[in-house]
Amino acid sequence: MVGLVIVSHSRRLAEALLGLTAQVCPTPIPVRVAAGAGPDHAEIGTDATQIVEAIQEVYGPDGVVVLMDLGSAILSAETALDLLPDDWRKAIRLCPAPLVEGALSAAVQIGSGQKLDAVCREACRALDAKLVQIEPEPPPPSVPPGALESLFTVTKPHGLHARPAARLVQLIAGFRAEVYFRRPKSPGSRVASGRSLTSLVTLGARQGDVIAVSTSGDDARQALDAIRDFLRAELAEEELAEPSQPQFEAGRPFGALPLSPGVAWGPAYVYDPSVPVVDESAADPDAEWTRFLKAVDVAKEAIRARAKSLAACAPAEAEIVETHLLTLEDPVILSRMRDSILASRKAAGWAWGNVIDEVIASYESLEDPYLRQRAADLRGIRTQVHQALTDKTDSRDDFARALSQPVIVIARESSPGLIAGLPRRVLLGVISVEGQPTSHGAIIARSLRIPAVSGVPASFLSLGPETVIGLDGATGQVWLNPDAEEIRELGRRKGESTTSLEARPPGPWRTRDGERLEIAANAGSVEGARVAALEQAEAIGLLRTEFMYLNRLEPPTEQEQIATLEEIAAAMTGRPVFVRSLDVGGDKPVPFLPRLPEQNPYLGVRGIRLSLRSRTVFRHQIRAVLRAGAENDLRLMLPMVSALEDLVRSRAFIEECHRELLEENLAHRWPIPLAVMIETPSAALIAASLAPLVDFLSIGTNDLTQYTLAAERGHPQLSEYLDSLHPSVLQLIGKTVEAGHQAGKQVGVCGEIASDPVATPILLGLQVDEISIEPAAIGTISRVVSGLSAEKARDWARGVLKLATAKEVREASAAFASAV
């Protein structure tokens, strides 16, 4: 959610304004006041440092809108911006809107989940209501041709006044459709946008007036239905109705439609790809047609890639996805597109929207519920082609890349593309507003064992990432911000469903011939550590500490880190935790670690390279790990070591921290076990030199793969290169294990490959001692391990290293598994 800061000379004025905004906005929004000067801010004036604090309190990834009254308020707000980190400024808008009108409008927009610039723009329009009375009207928006339309008579005595209008704007914000209101029986009446509170109120619809509501766009029908329900309920009655309450409360699960069984909980992540705005006519129809064909090719390529990735685990579902190709080859659709672009000279985006919407509408009008579900698939394809037309990379890829931890995805529809397109490691569960158990999305979720429900209110789409969601896909229950008691309940249910679904031997796990392969878990939060413990992980093999650093202005204090680390250690009840030092850089900027712009961040100052250049931050982290390790089995792990020098320097630095703590007489763990991550080909090749300096080697296969194969992680067009089972990567793993064992050190593998059952026999065969995997995969992988013979795997793996392609490795692994 966008944050709001109200800056005024008068504290009382600002606080009264808060009260007003609370009236129009039933859901709480992040808002702070910075007003008054002097002690207690009781005097008239403004204080830039108070504005800085207010901004810090509501700052988040969605940005902050600042509204000011006048004069020094503006100067102080500008000064406040000077005092904030440079990279925050681009997400902060000093909004020139009039204070009172602007605050009300901004609150409604924020409450309905609008983005930063939309909030600012609409707040600026808030003066229109006054201007319309005094000055000529601004040019009206126009209703697009082909829109759906219904007429209503206003029966409520006060007409369409601010409160119902605010609720209408919120309702409409939940849809993608363009919605317009007008008064058809009043000549000269304006057309009002359904997204603008001001515009709706100034329509001036009173009791007895007829209003026309028109909707257009891909969910026009649903939008119109929802508006109809609202208007019938609200405008046909006296003002008796209470403002709508949120439809669920914390502490009480919300009942949704079960789609796919399984229990999950985790942070919410809203996935809501917007359909780009498109021009209507084409300047050069021939070029436009070529552009469209290219976009279709790109979309087809993406669909094929998705089907391919699905083929291994869910062949039937891969076929479903493949049928989407047929839509893009459908001669009827293509000939309509050709007419629209070449004969009617329409722009490709516009033409595509119209043509595909007709097809979607025809599916939606069918009697057969199963066939009606196909409309959902088509809407996914509609977006895909639009994205290809605007050259946007599929937002799913950005989205998967942006995620540093697994989440519960909230989407409008659980389309097959969404579920199959996201890596399993980030997808804990799916909650959607629309979707039936017969939909392809639900089928795929069931086959991939991803818990899913649908039928939640559209307001879920505006939940912030701070929301934790629990869901039980068997009963359809959804918990919002579950408390400790409810998490335990979820854990219990998950335990039941996992044991009943997939009985597995308890750890520590051994192969059929009695050899140990330690199975640890990756974690990136306290919550993640609890899940790891619940899944019986033998250790946390990789604790990503970035969660303590991201989205904040100041680095965490030593004490704060100690508290978090102790909490994580407590969750693991004595089992070891490998704490990886800060691994930011590359794609994850942190405001307090200034970095130069880099042409190629993956080859830049990241991981240990950044820590060694930011000694204060590094010092606090090392000290925190040493001190939290006084009573707990914490170990240190260094990321992105590519040269022996970096390891030598880091060791010296860690020793320096140890000496400091000795002098300060603070309890800490010493010596602390040290692990080095092998993530670059150079590190793998000099592993024999690195191993004597550490206690453990942990191979990070995700980075090792991208650096070995020279293909960027998450690159949408290079996925076929990025297979960690490529023989080159496996050879580097083999060399590292050998070097580690020669020095008497254990070697582990963390990275996605370790969670892939196809890779398990290979890693076992290469004599890896430990794997650190996603907690959700422990069930599957432990079963695979128990079924394998270590001796056979070793003999077989020697041959695998001689293969030439990742495909051959995968085939060999499948053959080996079936022989077992």
Partner: protein
């Protein structure tokens, strides 16, 4: 005398008394064309600076000016808070690494500070603002810096005199910035309070320099 941290501390401390004595004068000027808060705001700001200097002892001129900036920003309340606050913030950066300032350094310090005021207030010369006092004052400092060796006490005296002339010259001007600009032509005939507080600050600096 030398422009060391001791001089700057003495100057900033003296401003509490300066603005306390001139509070009503500034308020009178401000009530004619503004919102009658300039005197109170400046007194509040520099009393707070004084209190900070009782509690803390900055090691460098840079730290001292930064402390002054943050205190003014936090306590003044009116437009002069961010304006003088930005002045001292930029001035602080301009003295980075220096333990003693020469007359040329004063030019750098004042120009950086004025740059901050102009950027923040978007005022131009002749808009009837504190800029109209700073510009002649800085020109005077520059003239002194051109003769070598420049004498700091004499330089500050010249700067204060020039600021005073600039301040008087705001009387016939029509305000184009701040609250006074709402008055339009009616602002003509009144002396600008912001230009006046600038003069007072420079005048105090000259006196501290003379007595040390």
């Amino acid at each position: 005398m030398k422009l060391t941290i001791d001089f700057f501390i003495a100057w900033l401390r003296s401003l509490r008394q300066c603005f306390s004595e001139n509070r009503d004068y500034l308020t009178r000027l401000d009530s004619a064309i503004g919102d009658a808060d300039h005197g109170i705001n400046m007194e509040r700001g520099f009393s707070a600076v004084y209190e900070q200097l009782e509690k803390q002892s900055p090691k460098t001129v840079e730290e001292l000016l930064k402390l002054t900036a943050m205190t003014l920003i936090r306590t003044v309340g009116g437009a002069s808070g961010p304006l003088y606050g930005t002045f001292f913030l930029r001035a602080s950066a301009a003295t980075s690494g220096k333990s003693e300032l020469a007359v040329e350094d004063l030019v750098t310090l004042f120009e950086a500070g004025l740059g901050g005021i102009i950027q923040r207030g978007k005022a131009e010369p002749g808009d009837k603002t504190m800029v109209d006092a700073w510009i002649p004052a800085i020109a005077a400092v520059k003239a002194c810096a051109a003769q070598s060796p420049g004498d700091p006490a004499e330089t500050l005296q010249k700067a204060a005199e020039a600021a005073e002339t600039g301040m008087r010259n705001t009387i016939p001007l029509q305000a184009r910035k701040g609250r006074a600009s709402y008055l339009g032509e009616r602002s003509v005939g009144h002396q600008d309070p912001g230009a006046t507080s600038t003069f007072l600050m420079l005048d105090a600096a000259a006196r501290v320099a003379e007595n040390s």
